[in-house]
Symmetry: C2
Subunit: 293 residues, 2 copies
């Protein structure tokens, strides 16, 4: 039986400290990640962004891994070049040598320990159930409404890719609680793929609560493209809490309040994420779903 | 009676959004700050750092305003030059034209709405009592253990200087609750100096709880100057809560825990502040004191 190849990647964004710290630690103590049937490597994706203490130098590395961008010889900013090199190293996306990439991220939003899955298939549903079983506080977020290749995420260059997204943690800070949650979730993912590889998967619950990404809402802007409102105080910090039609979402700087429209209760996340300041993304919306492994 | 000159300054640090937003808003609606007996100007101290979405370009602007640095012709980094220009505009420190500077700051630490005072004199104690009276959740922090001129704070170039420091707020984010707290505290300070100027100060409580800065603790470092520990999860987020000898303060990356020494319960603040990442400052310690206005 050939070994299942896993890459655990940290520091895709230079100011998200948990993954950088864990990957550095695991490079000195690889036994912490060793599991039967697995070959696990660790990679610090973007040390130069960390040296500069910022998310990226020229462009967001974690949006560079579409087939279009990887194949475009005009793409010559630093992260585009780095993406091509990482695709060679871990992929290539067209025929990957890596079976699974686990990419580690932090958010300034209060999302807790979130496992982001890019497809809804039996493997992903079983992984979700396994992780929730070992870590009830884990949040499962499914981003399957765009073809996996479309997102441009680093983890999409392997056969399978997942992201571990833990917050709230300000940029450029290490919080022990966040670090511990990230390490625990990575351990559970490795336990799961090891059990799969050995044919020793335990029985799993029949249903798992999850959230399915629907859309991202941007701040209201004026004609010059500047925000004229902020996330309302009632919404801020309430990631994955129910948001009903009529609940306030934006407070305009003139005092007016905008509320959620529609007819369905939804679940906001990435609320007021600092990294989305330039894109003016205010929050994303998900629906609550039930996964049946 | 000559008018009392107040400067409300925001954006001394480019990625602390609340003050930048409020100053911009007040420049369009100066009546919000108008008070009898006062001449109030608003100033955005460092727009270029905000354009770069960072705290500063070359050096921390809010450490440049010592007499030594202001008078040193060798100081030619961007913030040193900007400090000299601001000193000309608002000071000069040796004979200030501004009676009071209110400098607006955010912290990623959970410090709440904190009023930082640089001296312990009747005026400062009365201000503390007035602000606490109007805003019971306000925290009074006294940094009087170094001569005021020594800190190098921007607000030190006026006859009197105070800082309004509100958190938790990640860098590069606007949180409505934090913004509202900052605006409320600035309003109370202006109400106070207006009342003083008119001789209409109301009766004040006999005692006010405050914290007095003692020292800053840095992360434990290895011989190469890299951190070997992080703020412990028990301490993180507990700004101004009592910290007793024997309480954990650092968790080493090898799992060991370091506790507070000494024999006195102290009050940590600026815990895990992201801006202090480069200096490795982990938290500051204060003692609780009672001010008698």
């Amino acid at each position: 039986m050939s070994e299942y190849r896993v890459a655990v990647v940290g520091g895709t964004h230079g100011n998200e400290f948990s993954g950088i710290h864990l990957v550095s630690q695991w490079q000195n103590a690889p036994e912490a990640l060793a599991r039967p049937g697995l070959s696990v490597e660790t990679l610090w994706a973007h040390p130069r962004a960390h040296e500069a203490n910022c998310r990226y130098l020229d462009a967001d590395l974690n949006r560079q891994f579409t087939e279009t961008l990887l194949g475009d010889p005009q793409q010559r900013n630093y992260e585009a070049l780095l993406a091509k090199a990482l695709d060679q190293q871990l992929g290539p996306k067209s025929d990957p040598k890596t079976d699974l990439i686990i990419d580690l991220h932090n958010t300034t939003s209060a999302m807790g320990p979130t496992l982001i899955l890019l497809q809804n298939d039996p493997w992903a549903r079983q992984l979700a159930a396994y992780v929730k079983g070992g870590m009830p506080e884990a949040v499962i977020l499914l981003e399957d409404n765009e073809p996996e290749s479309g997102w441009g995420y680093l983890c999409s260059v392997a056969r399978r890719g997942v992201m571990v997204e833990v917050g709230p943690q300000p940029q450029s800070v290490l919080r022990q609680e966040i670090l511990d949650q990230m390490a625990q979730m990575v351990g559970l993912i490795l336990d799961f793929v090891s059990a799969c590889q050995l044919g020793q998967l335990p029985s799993l619950p029949a249903e798992v609560e999850a959230f399915r990404y629907l859309e991202t809402r941007t701040l209201p802007l004026d004609e010059a493209g500047r925000p004229v409102a902020m996330v309302s105080r009632e919404l801020d910090g309430r990631d994955f809490q129910p948001l009903a039609p009529g609940d306030p979402v934006f407070t305009y700087f003139d005092g007016k309040v905008a509320c959620l429209g529609g007819e369905k209760t939804l679940y906001p996340h990435f609320i007021n994420e600092a990294a989305y300041y330039q894109s003016h993304a205010a929050f994303s919306l998900a629906e609550k779903i039930t996964l049946k492994p």
